[in-house]
């Protein structure tokens, strides 16, 4: 705990006497805790009601982040905080969510769309004052793509030349990554294919620039080092697990003048009801996480002026295991898809104003017009099912619908699907609630019949959804393989002309939804945040659900 930014056992707790400190080992931990808790009871009784100094902004960020290492993190809550600490060549626009200049002040793209040349800002600096140079960018990118780092999102480097080869170990020399530093203030990136969304990718966490020396020295605990140099608008002051993270404005940040709040407290918690109570009591200024809204209150909250909903790139859908009978028959899958009543699910169950969609890609992703998939048509569904050999559902085996049980919403959706299939098709589906890791394990092992699924887009382009179902895609997880689909998606991604590319992608999606139907999309996600616009400003709805902290500020005193 030497390097940690003073994680004290609680403001009111007394420090441990030195004699107790010497008791070592896990039992020592227990002894010390026992002793300090007794002291704590005392302290609690003696201490006056002394509220600590409140940060300029107090926000609820949802679950406790697992890591703030921008290359390793996978959760949205982790990403929001990490983005405040570390920046990449581009960053997200707080209003639109599009990529705007970050550490790079400008760039030039070659006409074939393969070469990007970025010019770093002259005033880009770490929070300890040292300048951020092209070598820092190079080192960060190479670290992220190095398989030994263990970055789940390293797949975003596959768009860069040799990125995939390095990540899969086919190529070992990290210097072969298509990123070079012609001068200390410029970075050159060469792509494998023209990638229209590359600038937005660069704003994502896995392309953030992190400080080499502390990372190499600090091991797993590097983020917790005292005085850690940060490249983003904030620095880390303290982190108490399951309680709060405190951030302070980085004075050396190139745009420090526009970083509005001097200190931010990022609260973590699991309970949506608690978050709401804290907001209503004024203990927190705003809630950023969509999961921190009790779904049963969706309608009532939407009527309030301080609750804001907006669509973003997320899709809720059902996967079929196409390697299992009878779901290896596309007619069966289509029949099930056409029997479900999406309208009822969004109007009665989710009730946040989600658009019920028969397509996977949410409308509006990168100017894309998604095709219509299988709309509700119970008569056609019954016909298809009898063509497949199950007239009136006769002889259809009992099968299971698996879902993760920790969110009640999934159970409600499952119960609706079950009732629709029973009433419309006469087939009997059992529900199989699973605990999270079992659910994930069963999904990747293809140990299910039907499974509740969802996907959040990583960047504003339909490809972030459509590349899931490529035959070799690691996230396919349906057993569905379709060569024609692969050809369409790959051809689209090699196409420079935007309209033509999007048309090819739409063709691919239509094939996915109507011919293969390994999935049934149910609805697109709606994001939600709670904030009184008369008190706090700087949060805007956008498709990527990105709300950088630096733009958020209070407009009226508490």
């Amino acid at each position: 705990m030497r390097d940690a930014p003073a994680p004290r056992p609680g403001a009111f707790l007394l420090p441990w006497p030195d004699g107790l400190r010497r008791v070592r080992g896990p039992c020592g931990v227990a002894w010390r805790a026992l002793a300090s808790s007794l002291l704590g009871v005392l302290g609690l009784l003696l201490a006056a009601c002394r509220p600590g100094p409140r940060a300029d902004l107090v926000l609820h960020n949802g679950r406790e982040p697992e890591t703030l290492d921008p290359h390793l993190l996978t959760g949205q809550a982790d990403g929001r905080v990490a983005s405040a600490l570390f920046e990449g060549l581009t960053r997200y626009d707080p209003v639109t969510g599009n990529a705007i200049p970050g550490l790079a002040e400008s760039w030039a793209v070659s006409s074939d769309g393969l070469d990007y040349r970025f010019n770093l800002r002259a005033n880009a600096a770490w929070s300890d004052g040292r300048p951020i140079v092209a070598d820092d960018v190079l080192w960060s990118f190479r670290r992220a793509v190095n398989p030994l780092t263990g970055a789940d999102y390293a797949s975003q480097y596959f768009y860069i030349e040799n990125g995939e080869a390095l990540c899969t170990g086919a190529e070992r020399d990290l210097a072969r990554l298509g990123v070079t530093a012609p001068t200390p203030r410029s970075v050159h990136v060469r792509l494998r294919n023209p990638t229209p969304f590359f600038l937005e990718l660069l704003a994502s966490r896995v392309f953030a620039v992190i400080p080499r020396e502390p990372v190499e020295r600090g091991g797993d605990r590097w983020v917790l080092q005292h005085g850690l140099p940060c490249s983003g608008p904030y620095t880390l002051v303290s982190w108490r697990v399951n309680d709060r993270i405190r951030l302070r404005r980085n004075p050396c940040y190139w745009d420090a003048a526009n970083v509005r709040a001097a200190t931010i407290d990022v609260l973590a918690g699991d309970s949506a009801h608690t978050a709401l109570n804290q907001y209503l009591a004024g203990d927190i200024d705003f809630i950023l996480d969509k999961d921190m809204f009790p779904p049963e209150l969706a309608e009532a909250l939407r009527r309030r002026p301080d609750f804001h909903s907006y669509t973003y790139l997320g899709a809720y859908f059902i996967r079929f295991n196409t390697t299992r009978k009878p779901f290896d028959d596309p007619r069966v899958r289509r029949a099930i898809g056409m029997a479900i009543d999406r309208g009822r699910i969004v109007s009665r169950i989710t009730r946040m104003g989600e658009p019920a969609t028969s397509h996977l890609v949410p409308a509006g992703a990168g100017g894309y017009q998604p095709p219509t998939g299988l709309e509700r048509d119970p008569d056609a569904a019954r016909r298809l099912l009898s063509e497949a050999g199950y007239p009136g559902g006769k002889g259809f085996p009992v099968f299971e619908y698996s879902y993760n049980s920790e969110a009640r919403l999934h159970e409600h959706v499952a119960v609706e699907v079950q009732s629709a299939l029973r009433d419309e098709l006469g087939i009997s589906m059992q529900l199989r609630p699973l605990e999270w890791k079992t659910y994930l394990g069963n999904m990747s092992r293809l140990d299910y019949d039907l499974m509740r699924s969802s996907w959040i887009g990583d960047y504003n382009d339909p490809n972030t959804f459509l590349d899931l179902f490529l035959s070799e895609g690691g996230n396919n997880r349906t057993g569905w393989r379709d060569a024609a689909y692969d050809v369409l998606v790959n051809r689209a991604n090699a196409t420079l002309d935007r309209t033509r590319r999007l048309a090819l992608l739409a063709q691919a999606e239509a094939r996915l939804l109507r011919e293969g139907a390994p999935i049934i999309p149910l609805y697109s996600y709606v994001g939600f945040y709670a904030l009184d616009t008369n008190r706090v400003a700087g949060i805007h709805p956008n498709l990527l659900d990105e709300h950088p902290f630096w733009a958020i500020h209070r407009v009226a005193p508490r």
Binding site: G40, Y153, D243
Partner: protein, 307 residues
């Protein structure tokens, strides 16, 4: 219990902790899924392999176990697999004092409320104090904490504005969680106390004392109270161990940064090291407190001999 037996009991504690840690270590790994299974598939097999290698999860189970025991012997519970920057020791050092503070206060509440209520029920059996106590007991037993806690918040914080809604850091933050946690255990203590005392009041030596002309108060305080506490004390050991290591529901609802949430969540996230670390600490506390319970038994009822 003579001194030799006592020493044996104390020496057995590390051994038992080791057995529990071993069981937890292997059973955790028998559960499906692993710490690095996520919604998104890893970028490549190499990335996944590197992650596992970093935490030695690629080694044979036997070697992992030996490695873990080595750490345990040195007092190192290992790195958390979920909270990637934090060691298990550090998480426990932060969270345990919080849970324990809450636990002591709730223990005091449970005992302070449960024993008088239960005793009153036994003394005035079938009369109004007994019925009042029964109602309290049943309320404590059948109002689950996940109902009681939000009710307290709605009534006393959002409604009356007397206490903070959630959080930790001042005495006023502790009051509602202590109430929510204490009532549940107070109900059990009251129940055991009522039965224990009723049983004692029926026994011949009390009749003898009464025949001798000892006053009712004297009977209660001098003769009946101590043996009547035996069942309460039997229950107090495990109860205190549970209280000190935190409650999942209460800590979640009041956003108390203690260990309660980790017991369930570390299992859900297959955080093997954190889970095993918690089991080590919990079993240690339980064994110590049960030893204390057995010693208390002897003091309460001298007829008890553990030989």
């Amino acid at each position: 219990m003579d001194a030799r037996a006592l020493v044996r009991r104390i020496l057995a504690i590390p051994l038992l902790v080791w057995v529990v840690a071993t069981l937890a270590f292997f059973l955790m790994r028998a559960a499906p899924g692993g710490p690095f299974d996520r919604e998104r598939a890893p970028a490549s097999r190499e990335v996944e392999a590197a992650l596992k290698a970093r935490y030695h999860l690629d080694e044979p189970l036997g070697r992992q176990y030996v490695r873990y025991l080595g750490g345990l012997a040195r007092g190192d519970l290992g790195p958390s697999l979920k909270y990637r920057h934090h060691g298990v020791n550090e998480i426990l050092a932060q969270a345990l004092p919080v849970s324990m503070t809450l636990g002591w206060l709730a223990f005091g509440t449970a005992m302070g409320l449960g024993i008088p209520v239960g005793a009153a029920g036994a003394v005035w059996r079938g009369r109004w104090p007994d019925w009042l106590g029964t109602v309290l007991v049943l309320a404590g037993a059948c109002i689950p904490t996940f109902v009681l806690a939000p009710l307290l918040v709605l009534g006393l914080s959002l409604g009356a504005g007397w206490f903070p809604v959630a959080g930790w850091g001042s005495p006023s933050h502790a009051i509602l969680p202590v109430m929510a946690l204490g009532l549940y255990f107070a109900a059990r203590v009251a129940r055991l106390m009522r039965e224990g005392l009723a049983e004692v009041l029926r026994s011949p030596f009390i009749l003898a004392a009464r025949a001798k002309g000892v006053s009712p108060g004297g009977i209660l305080w001098r003769h009946a109270m101590r043996p009547a506490l035996v069942p309460v004390v039997s229950y107090a050991g495990p109860m205190l161990a549970d209280l000190l290591t935190g409650s999942f529901v209460v800590e979640r609802i009041f956003q108390v940064p203690g260990t309660g949430a980790f017991f369930t969540n570390s299992f859900f996230s297959r955080d093997y090291t954190l889970m095993t670390g918690l089991v080590v600490v919990y079993s240690f506390l339980l064994l110590v407190l049960n030893l204390a319970t057995d010693l208390a038994h002897r003091w309460l009822d001298p007829r008890i001999r553990h030989a």
